[in-house]
Amino acid sequence: MFHRAVEEISTGSDSDYSRCWVSWFLSSKGNEYFCEVDEDFIVDRFNLTGLNSEVSNYNQALELITDNLDEDIQDDLRASLDVQARLLYGLIHARWIVTTRGLQKMLDKYKRVEFGRCPRVMCQQQPLLPVGLTDTPYQKSVKLYCGRCEDIYSPKSSRHAAIDGAYFGTTFPHLLFLIYPNLIPPKSGPPLDSASTMRNEPAEGGSRRRRNVRDEIQEAVAGDGADINTSSVALKVERYRPRIYGFQVNEVAKLQRWQEALRDRQVQRLEALEDR
């Protein structure tokens, strides 16, 4: 079954023969949210630290992912190995997408709106990013984060609702906006969909290691988005106001006023911080 994608290998990857299993995995229905993990990230055992205790038949699963698995292996073992290989790839993926290079790959998918758009009407079709509610596998399915309303949504399609959220992790979208504050969506008006709005992207880092990420964050934050001020953006948020024959619904209006008073306090607080 792993040979299904053989035709695609030559085009899909730069490392000529090897990306058989990965291309098959990525092209499977329901796996659209995953990006391709660079091979040198996978073969660097440092990046896989600790995963051997999460995945049974770890070594063979890894061999399967890197297409080094012994051909003579039993079919029934192979089937179970496939499950483990998916788990392993997912866990590697969660680590990969919080590296500079992995963020870039996911950013490309985000620009192509491959994760769908926010269902909230006032978000005006804001593109979404995948996120997990936990970093432990087999707990919660993947959700979608909207950078405009800063909330999480269930994927529309049931085949995405079956993907493990731990394969994307809790950190990814928030790290993305931390590193690229220019990409933080505006709170009103149409979303900045197009690639032309992307500025000041950090240089491509090749396959950098995970341990460098924190340093990179520091650099990126220090050098990036100095002109960005988000203290009072919440004042621009458009809200839906329930009405009955044109009149606001009493209890809902009261709640909304209370919430907006809370918002105003936060804005004051943030502006005060800025002045100091």
Binding site: T136, I244, V249, Q268, A272
Partner: protein, 403 residues
Amino acid sequence: MPRPADPDPELQEDDNDDDEIMDDQEDGYTSSTTTSTVTWISWFCSLPGHEYFCEVTEDFIEDDFNLTGLNVMVPFWKEAMEMVMDIEPDEDAATKIPDVSIVESSAEMLYGLVHQRFILTRAGLQAMIDKYENNAFGVCPRVLCRSSTVVPCGRSDLPGLDTVKLYCPNCNDIYVPPSSRYQGVDGAFFGTTFAHLFFQSYRELAPAPFYKPPPPPSSTASSPSSNASAIEPASEAFVNPNPYGGQKRAEGAIYYPRIYGFKVSERAKSGPRMQWMRVRPESPEQLDRVDWRGHWIGEYSDDDDDDEDGGEMEMQDFDPDVTYEDDDDEEEEEEEEMQAEPPRASGSRRMVGAAGVVQSARTAPTAAGLRPPAPVKTQAINIPRIASSGQVRVVRQYIPAAA
């Protein structure tokens, strides 16, 4: 008369949709062409994309009073009415109609506008709650609304301006229907009022505006009794003291972005700016602390210092920081483990909150004074000022050095 086929079959080819509607289409189509027992209204309501419509009763349509003003909005009024009511047109009249598809779209407009009015009547609300209870409208896509049931709504009462949307009574927000087959359905056919009249009429389905998280599971000891105590809050009857308000316990958890297990601080540029939109006060009294202009009662906006401290405290108090994790054990337990937090100072804060000791203090206007003054200088590394309860946050939040 032959029924028009599915108005736009292409609409169904949406990859993202779960395709459960093909059967409906088949049924609607065949029954309408082969048997004449199905009324136009039943047929119309069974079309793909028309799942949100209820069947308007014929006596409602026959009462001219209910149609007041609609005839100017619908071309070929008489012919459209005959089509909707399954009346065979006059022989000579039929010849005047330029194109049957024009009458069909008129009939749709007529039915839609009548529908907008019908669902505001007692019979219409009843028809819609029947659909609601059969899950015809779906659930809120927002994860933390936990599958709250939504109802259709329009953003305008005039046709031709916007398509149908879904209103969630828990987050009081509106959403694009999950399937593209609703993209051809006019929102005016449901109108701006219905969704809210619906939840006013069925208050037991409307979430209350306040939300008190259940007490935290006894985290100190994992004794077998912890299971029993976890069941208690659910069995408590829920009461909203406002008899005209929502009588259902709200889903009040909100989302906290995290980086490597730490909450992203609001001090970061990319920090949370929208949580206020989903936060609820813990008690109905707290709602009264904001006046009709949206100002905190007993506070003056000029009065900077008090205001700020109060503000910080307010956020802290209502901050489901505390509530989300605590109320949400099934969702968050595993995440808690991942965080590798220091045994936390926040524990004491939780206890206070949970014990309700602070409750009266919170509602009092002087609440800010009851807090110990902020140990400002001892704390901050690169942040000049941290308000009293902010200490806890500093431990737990992810604050980029440059923010």
